[in-house]
């Protein structure tokens, strides 16, 4: 090719350019074949051959000769002559005819495949993206991910400030996987749990924050864990003339840190004696309900940020029992109970407390509890007996105070025992308060003489100084017996 260019630049170039500029002259020359040989310096022999070609049958008049000079005409003739014998393969049309539909199908298939691939990618990419958040790809990814996981997990549990322990491990996993290598992953992972627990937007704290009513208004204060809140206490007052009983639960932040209450917690019926649990309702206190002695609910108290508890600070959930007044049948043992009440008043310290709380005028409530303790062998007394009851079997007493911790709906031994002692059913209801973080219940209270009615409860309210009569001991929780 290089020598071709040399040839072009050397000999042929100027000549051709001169001819191309004068097509008319060249066209005139075309009619005189002899001039081809004479005018071209290097194509003399070619010119004679062109004459031979034309004499051989090439019709120059039929060619499209407008504007072409002699060399161009020569090239044209030569080109056409060079391939004049090229004949198509007779099977060509058949082959094309078969191949065209196949090619169309292939094109359709390619488009369909591309569309399907695009759809698959569109679906799979977000799924894979979410999978990263779930830590699915973080685990076996790199050695760095494996190296960072053990170093991050003890850090999170030892700090004591993590909100949800079990949900923690996947998260440092992801952070380590997104890191570059094992050194940076292990270094960057330890600060991460503290940072994520402090921020409400962290993935592990999301379930707790979602269950609480006041989610992210106060980010720096962590949510209270159940172990931050110690064993609570309860106080049950005396029934008034209409049988209403008021009381409250008190729960203290026994941890050394300030925490935020995630929610109002729950007040639930954990056990009944002598009555049907379905007849006891627990509702939130609202203005205008029959529990008039309860403090008026603060508007929006349940919607705002949770109560912030400083160390040793307590909150109080007040409740009020309003009987329906339709259960005289089960409470009909009151006359005999009053007798038993007096007789059993000295049986234990717990029962003496019960006398002062149960009080006079109770529609059978005090009678029920008193008769149980008086008989001694009555199974119903076990449900309400104080922990230090002397006349009661020691194994029977603890379940009354301990069973509320197991759950709100399950009714253990207290519910079973009344069926045996049906002759004197002590209609009592045990309610328990479970703080917002969850079980176990912090405190339980026994409503004497409650067989059918409604428990109205308030939202947690801060308590500046716990009442001296209350001690956060489990024994007080069963003070009403």
């Amino acid at each position: 090719m290089a020598d071709d260019r040399i040839g072009v630049g050397g000999t042929g170039g100027p000549v051709d350019r001169a001819r191309c500029d004068r097509p008319g002259i060249d066209g005139a020359r075309l009619d005189r074949p002899s001039s081809v040989g004479s005018s071209t310096d290097g194509l003399n022999t070619e010119g004679s051959k062109i004459e031979g070609l034309k004499a051989g049958g090439l019709n120059t008049a039929g060619l499209n000769t407008d504007g072409l000079n002699t060399d161009e005409q020569l090239v044209r003739v030569l080109l056409q002559r060079a391939v004049a014998e090229v004949q198509p393969d007779p099977a060509g049309l058949h082959r094309i005819r078969r191949a065209v539909p196949r090619r169309r199908a292939a094109r359709r298939g390619a488009w369909t495949g591309a569309a399907a691939l695009a759809v698959a990618v569109a679906i799979a990419l977000p799924a894979l993206h979410d999978g990263d958040h779930l830590g699915l790809s973080g685990g076996p990814g790199t050695p760095g991910a494996h190296g960072a996981t053990p170093s991050a997990t003890p850090e999170g549990s030892a700090a004591g400030s993590d909100v949800v322990g079990p949900n923690r491990p996947p998260y440092p996993d992801v952070s380590a996987a997104t890191g570059t290598g094992s050194p940076s992953g292990s270094v960057s992972a330890p600060p991460h749990p503290a940072a994520s627990s402090a921020s409400t937007g962290g993935v592990p704290s999301t379930p707790v924050a979602a269950s609480s009513t006041g989610g992210g208004d106060d980010p720096p204060v962590p949510l209270c864990l159940r172990r931050d809140l110690g064993q609570g206490a309860s106080r049950v007052g005396a029934a008034d003339g209409e049988g209403r009983i008021y009381g409250y639960f008190t729960v203290v932040n026994t941890s050394g840190r300030t925490c935020r209450l995630g929610g109002p917690g729950s007040v639930a019926v954990t056990g009944t004696s002598g009555t049907d649990p379905a007849r006891i309702r627990v509702t939130d206190h609202s203005a205008g309900d029959p529990a008039t002695d309860l403090p008026a609910p603060r508007p929006g108290a349940g919607d705002g940020p949770g109560l912030v508890l400083a160390p040793q600070a307590a909150y109080r959930v007040e409740f009020g029992w309003v009987p329906d007044g339709g259960c005289r049948a089960t409470g009909g043992v009151s006359p005999s109970a009053t007798a038993g009440q007096s007789g059993s008043s000295g049986s234990g310290a717990g029962t003496s407390l019960a006398m002062q709380s149960g009080g006079p005028g109770g529609p059978g409530g005090p009678g029920g509890s008193a008769s149980g303790s008086g008989s001694g062998s009555g199974p119903g007394s076990r449900a309400v007996a104080p922990a230090d009851g002397a006349s009661v079997a020691p194994t029977g007493a603890p379940p009354a105070s301990a069973t509320p911790t197991t759950g709100s709906t399950s009714v253990p031994s207290p519910s079973a025992t009344p069926t045996t002692g049906h002759s004197a059913p002590p209609a009592t209801v045990t309610i328990a308060h479970t703080p917002a973080p969850g079980s176990p219940a912090a405190a339980s209270a026994v409503l004497p003489g409650a067989c059918s009615g409604t428990v109205y409860r308030t939202a947690p309210q801060p308590v500046m100084a716990p009442a001296p009569t209350e001690t956060p001991a489990p024994s007080v929780s069963a003070s009403v017996g």
């Binding site: 090719m1 071709d4 260019r5 040839g7 072009v8 000999t11 042929g12 170039g13 000549v15 051709d16 350019r17 191309c20 290097g42 194509l43 022999t45 070619e46 051959k49 049958g57 090439l58 019709n59 039929g62 499209n64 072409l68 060399d71 161009e72 090239v75 044209r76 030569l78 080109l79 056409q80 002559r81 060079a82 391939v83 004049a84 014998e85 090229v86 004949q87 198509p88 393969d89 060509g92 049309l93 082959r95 094309i96 005819r97 191949a99 065209v100 090619r103 169309r104 094109r107």
Partner: protein
């Protein structure tokens, strides 16, 4: 000889109606031979030329949109043949350099030995040209395109077409002289 003259655009212009099968047949009968010869000038191996032209037919007719414009069908076919020849040469360029393929001699009995010799000479000269020069010469003088059409088909400027054409003719002359001498 007039029967083998390169097909012009108006020969396929009137075939707008009809199914694609008929259109394919008409296009084939009208243009296949000239396209095959065009490929034969751009390539050397006749079987490769057949493959290239058939591939061009298949491509153009697979895309129905192209076939629906009969006046452009021939242009599409030519363009495809040129592109396919070019890519074929590119693909083979290593193998050709290392192992030159002998030209299949397609001389028929009625052609004299002199013509066959001259034809081989021209083909050898064509092959020695630059690819662009060869393409311009073939399209310009064999297909009888105007320079603007050549420029459009090859995707180069009009000035480049003129330059390639003039240098190609000069180089061809040099080659033919060298072959003769």
């Amino acid at each position: 000889m007039t029967a083998v003259a390169p097909g012009t655009a108006d020969s396929g212009a009137g075939t707008g109606a009809g199914t694609s099968e008929d259109l394919l047949t008409e296009t084939y009968q009208a243009h296949y031979r000239s396209l095959l010869r065009l490929a034969a000038l751009l390539l050397d191996d006749l079987s490769t030329c057949e493959d290239v032209v058939q591939e061009a037919f298949i491509r153009v007719h697979s895309a129905r949109r192209r076939v629906r414009e009969p006046e452009k069908t021939l242009a599409y076919l030519r363009q495809t043949v040129v592109n396919l020849s070019r890519s074929t040469l590119r693909r083979r360029i290593l193998g050709l350099r290392l192992l030159p393929k002998p030209m299949p001699d397609m001389a028929s009995a009625e052609e004299g030995a002199y013509d066959a010799l001259e034809r081989d000479q021209l083909k050898a000269a064509l092959r020695s040209l630059q690819r662009r020069q060869r393409e311009v010469l073939v399209l310009r003088y064999f297909v009888d395109m105007t320079e603007a059409q050549v420029a459009e088909t090859l995707g180069i400027s009009l000035g480049s077409v003129k330059a390639y054409g003039s240098r190609g003719i000069a180089a061809l002359r040099v080659q033919m002289e060298a072959g003769r001498g």
